[in-house]
Symmetry: C2
Subunit: 113 residues, 2 copies
DNA sequence: GAGACATTCAACCAACGGGTTGACTATCTG
DNA sequence: CAGATAGTCAACCCGTTGGTTGAATGTCTC
C-alpha cells in the first residue's frame, strides 16, 4: 500500500490552516494526536479528523503504541506538490522579473490592459 | 486592491484537477472563459465557477473586453505557496536521503514501525 | 477489576463545493 | 432591430467538510 500522493488530497489538506499548523508541529518532532490537538480550541475528535485528513493525503504516518497514536510527518507528498508548483517556476520568475522591469521603466505598457 | 494571497484559498484552488488544468492552459497564453471551459465536459456555468475560484485565490486576473472575459495567470500566489512548501524542503531532502540510505543498508531499521 | 486515559466512532448539524438548468445581461453582427 | 454569442446569476441537488457531543474501544495503573 505504497499509495503515492494524490495531488487533490495533498493540496486540499494544505488548504486549512489548522492542518498546516499541525504539519509545522510535526516538522519539529513526532507528536501524539493529543499533542497535535492541544494548541487548538476544538474537541479532540475534531482534531483527530484533521489528522486523518493529513493521513489520507499521505502527509502523516501513524504508529500506535499502546493507547497512544504517534504521528510523524511524511514529507514526500510535499515534495510532490512542490514539484507540481515548480512546473510554473519559470512563469513567476519571468513575470515578476518583467514586472520589476516595468516598474523601473514604466514606458512600455503594452502588455497590460 | 492588492490582495495578497491567502494560502487557504490558494491551496484549496489547487486541490481540484479541473482548476489545475485551467492553470496549465493559462500558463501557455491568455484564455477566455469559454476557451478555459472547452476541454471539460461540464456546463459553461460550472467552468465559470472554477474560474471564479481561481480568481478569488488571486491566481487569475480577468479583463473584460466587450462580452468576452480574458483571463491570465497571475503566478504570484503560486510563488507564495511554493515559498510555504519550501519551508519544508530541508525535511524532504533530509528524510528522502535517509530513506535512500536505509534502502542501501537495510540494517538500521529502528526509525520505522 | 476499577478507574483513568488516549483515541476513535457514530450521529448529527450547518456550511461549502461542484455540478446542473433556466433566466438574465450585455455585446456583437447582419 | 433581430438573433446569436459570452458570460454571469440564482435556485436547486447532493456529497463533503469541519465542527459538535456522547458512547465505545482499548490500554495503562493501582
Amino acid at each position: 500500500m505504497v499509495e503515492y500522493p494524490k495531488l487533490d488530497l495533498v493540496f486540499r489538506a494544505l488548504g486549512d490552516s489548522t492542518r498546516r499548523g499541525m504539519l509545522r508541529q510535526l516538522a519539529r518532532r513526532e507528536q501524539t494526536v493529543s499533542e497535535l490537538a492541544e494548541p487548538y480550541r476544538m474537541s479532540l475528535a475534531s482534531a483527530s479528523k484533521h489528522v486523518k485528513a493529513l493521513e489520507r493525503a499521505g502527509l502523516v504516518r501513524r504508529t500506535v503504541r499502546g493507547r497512544t497514536h504517534f504521528c510523524r510527518l511524511n514529507p514526500q507528498p510535499l515534495a510532490k506538490a512542490d514539484e507540481w508548483l515548480r512546473g510554473y517556476e519559470r512563469l513567476w520568475d519571468i513575470r515578476l522579473a518583467r514586472l520589476e522591469e516595468l516598474l523601473r521603466h514604466p514606458d512600455n505598457e503594452d502588455s497590460d490592459r
